[in-house]
């Protein structure tokens, strides 16, 4: 085809604009993930959760309570939550699932509301019953309850090193995109992904103090963290692909609704049942969102924090899917992987600066790692040889 200069330019501009928009959306998803993480920590550290409602010690045991002991690797046999006895593993999983279930359920209400506002509510129902909808449901269960629970258990068993292990998910997503979804992969993209993963390890390197490769529980925790990485990798690649068939606002509504309902109304009650305290479920569900709106002039209500975390999570996951569908899983997930920097950064802003909690300042290595990650993303997105050639031509 013999194209005129105008035609070539118009096509190039159209492709470039779509590509840039995809990158921006994927990067923004990482930033929003930071807000989601910071506010879910705020929610599950307020009122009944941590310092305690009406002066009680709180489900996480308050300062120097059982959860702080777990974090310091001093694991008690049994812990007391709301007057009942739980094993540590059950306590951590139940509280983690309760928090993430409430978040995802609230998030689904935001996202369904948004889709309905844009006239897509009927399409949401139609897609839910379709085959691609079923793929999204499976995707939601893998990335939601399964990967999230694996992550919570890994954190308990291995400590904060579980976080960078899960950051392998962009690599997993890229490999799945390459193997099953016919997306591009070459040496440059592979090196870019490795650089991004290294950057994530650098960001979390402050967590490596208790490194112990001889402890079986520690190693088992790392293996479980890999399940989370695999789960999120599968979710990112398949979810991104699903978004090429299903509208992204509908995809995310299906994702959050499935994850929220399954986690909150099936998984958590079953966990309470297994722990022998089923009767506590409705009480704790209500108490989980109760609390004073404002305390000492600052927002303090778990419900408000959950509303913000749910909104941020919804947009973050929606943009994750959309970014992946616009850029391909390799680039989309590498851009989204910026969350490993955005999470500590936004936590520093919200929890450290706004709420005045200690321990959220960023170490210099985390800033350096952010730059390394930008380099990795750049390498995945652009062939440096072509980029510099174009700059020279311009």
């Amino acid at each position: 085809m013999n194209d005129s200069v105008d035609l070539k330019q118009a096509r190039r501009a159209r492709t470039a604009s779509f590509f840039k928009k995809g990158i921006l959306i994927a990067l923004f998803s990482g930033l929003l993930y930071g807000f989601y993480s910071a506010f879910i920590v705020a929610a599950t550290s307020s009122a009944a959760w941590y310092p305690g409602l009406n002066g009680a010690e709180g489900w996480y045991g308050g300062a120097d309570g059982w959860y702080d002991q777990v974090l310091a690797n001093q694991i008690p046999d049994l812990v007391n939550i709301a007057g009942a006895s739980f094993s540590v593993l059950m306590a951590v999983v139940i509280l983690g699932a309760l928090g993430s279930g409430i978040n995802d359920f609230i998030s689904s209400l935001w996202m369904i509301g948004k889709a309905a506002f844009k006239g897509k509510f009927m399409d949401f129902l139609r897609c839910y019953k379709s085959k691609p909808g079923l793929v999204m449901i499976v995707c939601a269960l893998i990335g939601g309850p399964i990967a999230s629970t694996a992550y919570i258990i890994a954190l308990l068993m291995s400590g904060p090193i579980a976080a960078p292990i899960t950051a392998l998910c962009p690599a997993v997503g890229a490999i799945i995109g390459w193997l099953f979804l016919k997306q591009g992969m070459n040496l440059r993209i592979g090196i870019g992904i490795i650089i991004c993963v290294i950057a994530t390890f650098m960001i979390s390197s402050t967590a490596f103090e208790d490194f112990s490769l001889t402890d079986p529980m520690y190693l088992a925790g790392l293996a479980i963290a890999l399940i989370a990485a695999l789960g999120w990798g599968i979710e990112g690649a398949i979810g991104g692909f699903g978004t090429s068939v299903i509208d992204y606002e509908i995809s995310i509504s299906i994702r959050q609704f499935t994850s929220g309902v399954f986690t909150l109304f099936i998984m958590v009650p079953v966990l309470f049942l297994i722990a022998g305290h089923f009767g506590l479920f409705p009480t704790m569900l209500v108490e989980a969102v109760q609390g004073p709106l404002v305390e000492d002039g600052l927002l303090a209500s778990p419900l408000i924090f959950f509303l913000i975390s749910g909104l941020a999570a919804g947009f973050s996951f929606a943009f994750w899917y959309k970014g992946n569908s616009m850029c391909g899983a390799a680039l989309g997930m590498a851009c989204n992987g910026g969350f490993s920097f955005w999470v500590p950064f936004v936590s520093f802003l919200v929890l450290g600066l706004y709420l005045g909690w200690e321990g959220y300042a960023l170490a210099p290595i985390q800033w350096i790692a952010a730059l390394v990650m930008v380099l990795g993303i750049f390498l995945i997105a652009v062939n440096p040889l072509e980029f510099f050639k174009k700059q020279k031509e311009a």
């Binding site: 105008d6 035609l7 118009a10 096509r11 006239g119 691609p132 090429s244 068939v245």
Partner: protein, 87 residues
């Protein structure tokens, strides 16, 4: 009635080469009341489908107003996916 995105992809199943305007005119009767039934949103759907290997560009031209029209057709993989997943 199919969701809008499914209906868009289904248009390509028979090997047709269609641009955004073509999609809009073919779906106008059933979907014109949809708030998402806009050229920009449909263009993004088509480009995402292309990025994910379901469609490929088959032709392109500038019209009298110097506006670009890109025509797409389904790939073998896209045919397999659309037939297998969209009823």
């Amino acid at each position: 009635m199919r969701p809008l995105n499914y209906a868009i992809l289904k248009l390509y199943e028979d090997g047709s080469e269609i641009d955004v305007q073509g999609v809009m005119s073919r779906l106008n009767d059933d979907y014109r009341k949809f708030r998402a039934f806009k050229p920009k949103a449909i263009n993004e759907s088509l480009m995402s489908a292309e990025k994910n290997g379901l469609l490929e560009e088959s032709n392109w031209e500038l019209d009298d107003k110097n506006e670009l029209h890109v025509y797409y057709k389904v790939t073998d993989y896209g045919t397999e996916m659309i037939k297998g997943y969209i009823k």
